[in-house]
């Protein structure tokens, strides 16, 4: 079981690195999906199959589709990729990368510290999740509803546009 965890974790790390190093945003998105899937596998390994399913449905499914639609609407092409490449000079990322490496070293040290291996995993079935959500944590569920409402009202207000802005595609066709 340990091995499966390490493979999943390695894939998660690798794909996430690929997400941030790709020049083409669509490629990056594909890696992001892989990364989310591997995290779902890890959830599954640790006895939370429901969370794994949610991770796939919500993140890899719904949110990814939204992002892809958004990217398509922005109509990014090779031009943007070239621009990105120009921005990404070694001088730009070397120091932040070094700092991140230090942070990573810290993290590895922290993880190495825990001597007790993970044993006695208790699986959490969906029923348990539902029970605690609508039992002691009912207040949290209601607060999340308010949180979403704040997001919707804010987005509705900020998203309203008086000026009509045409998509680049239509603009070039019209002229």
């Amino acid at each position: 079981m340990d091995l499966t965890f390490y493979i999943a974790a390695a894939i998660a790390v690798f794909s996430t690195v690929m997400v941030v190093t790709r020049f083409n945003i669509m490629h990056a998105l594909l890696y992001l999906i892989v990364s989310l899937l591997s995290v779902a596998v890890i959830f599954y390994l640790y006895g939370a199959p429901f969370m794994a399913a949610l991770e796939i449905i919500i993140y890899a499914g719904a949110i990814m589709v939204l992002i892809i639609f958004f990217v398509m609407m922005l109509n990014l092409g090779p031009e943007t990729a070239r621009q990105e490449k120009e921005w990404l000079r070694p001088g730009m990322w070397l120091l932040p990368a070094l700092l991140c490496a230090v942070l990573l070293g810290e993290l590895v040290y922290l993880i190495a510290q825990s001597k007790t291996p993970v044993t006695g995993i208790t699986p959490v079935p969906p029923k348990e999740v539902g029970r605690s959500l609508f039992g002691p944590y009912i207040l949290a569920v209601e607060l999340s509803a308010l949180l979403l409402m704040a997001g919707i009202v804010g987005a509705y207000h900020l998203g309203r546009q008086k000026k009509k802005i045409l998509h680049r595609f239509f603009e070039s066709n019209a002229s």
């Binding site: 922290l110 002691p136 409402m149 009202v153 509705y156 207000h157």
Partner: protein, 479 residues
Amino acid sequence: MTFNDLLSLGPLLNIAGASVLAMLLVAIWRNHRLVYYFTVLAYLLALMSVVPVARLLPHEIPPLVVIDLFALFNSGAIVGSGLIIVLLSYNYFEEREERKEEYYLLLLLATAGALVLVISRHFMSLFLGLEMLSISLYGLIAYLRARERSDEAGIKYLILAALSSAFLLFGMALVYGFTGHMDFPGIGAYLRETETLPVSVIAGFGLMLIGIGFKLGVVPFHMWAPDIYEGAPLPVTAFVATISKGGVLVLLIRFYQDVNGKEYTMLWWIMAIIAVISMFAGNWLALTQQNIKRLLAYSSIAHLGYLLVGFLSGAQSGLEAIAFYLVAYFVTSIGAFGVLIVMSSSVQDAETVEDYRGLFWRYPWVALVFTVMLLSLAGIPLTAGFIGKFYIVMAGVDGERWFLLIMLVINSVIGLYYYIRIIAMMFRTSETPLRTYIKPALPLAGNITLGLLVVVLIGLGVYPTRMMQLIQEMMTLIK
């Protein structure tokens, strides 16, 4: 949930319910005045619903929230400040071009978020409250889309707040991963049993401190403050400066108490350094500032530094001092922003120091109010600000934190300079009288509200005993 549970959540339920009802109201009939009266009514009801909770205290709804006198007191302060901000908002938004109704919805939701913060004692309610607050603020800060700088402020706050939330979440995950508890008392109990703090828990606390520090706007997480103060609509700025920061500070105090923060000297030193550099950076940056909104932003950074000094004194009187100082700071800040609000015209906000040249000769009443507010910010006797600072110094003496006290005194003197500069500007006669008056007529509601704030401010400054008794009573209960 029992009846008592619902009753003890009264202020929160009122505000949250009102936000939903207000949304429906806006959907049915969009009218600025109507939604304004509705919001005022909601705040008044929430303020009244604080009273019956008092006999239930302390009431716990495990595992997420606890309502004790400390939480109730701060709930009252938050709802009261919210009410005053709403009263000041009507004219400001009436003169502006955007749709006005959503502002009240978002303000109600943000207030509800702050109310959750002050009663929460669990990571989950902490995070939900904090996110409710910040997500509403994204919308509020960028509210006047057509104005210059509002988009900039909104985007800046969005990115930085999201980043700080990520830090906070990661910190909470680390703490939870090693202690196995998400409720504050549980974490405290775990930490009492271990003699050395695990490194990961320290790292978790550090990361959480970044998230909290951002919300408080203390140095070195203060970079957003001036830009957001400048770009946001003035009532929203007042909200960010008072309710948002106050709610988070209350949460920090509760967390620190529950996990026995006093015992960890490293945590103390980090916060002491933050406090000292916040005071210095805030005051130094304000010295030559010509824009009053930015000046108040820097001044609020410094004030958070003063508050942290009271917090770090470690004495019981420190917490009392903070509670008092917080109320004084709420009243004073809202008053100062209130003056800016009533002085702003529909075209531009009255934000440069130059706008206030000779104000006394044009609008003596407003100039007097502003003078009182600035004197209170500076901590001059007979104002609430002085009493607040006095209690903080007393707490410092009790805790024998001489270094922090010396820093506080030095900074109070530096701070005096730029407050007095504005006051002097208001009393100067202008050589060029034809600089167009920024505002022809002042709104009545705004003036009445300002008058009320002045009365409270002077009242607290001259006769603080009653307030202090209440606070002392409350602090003995949370021990």
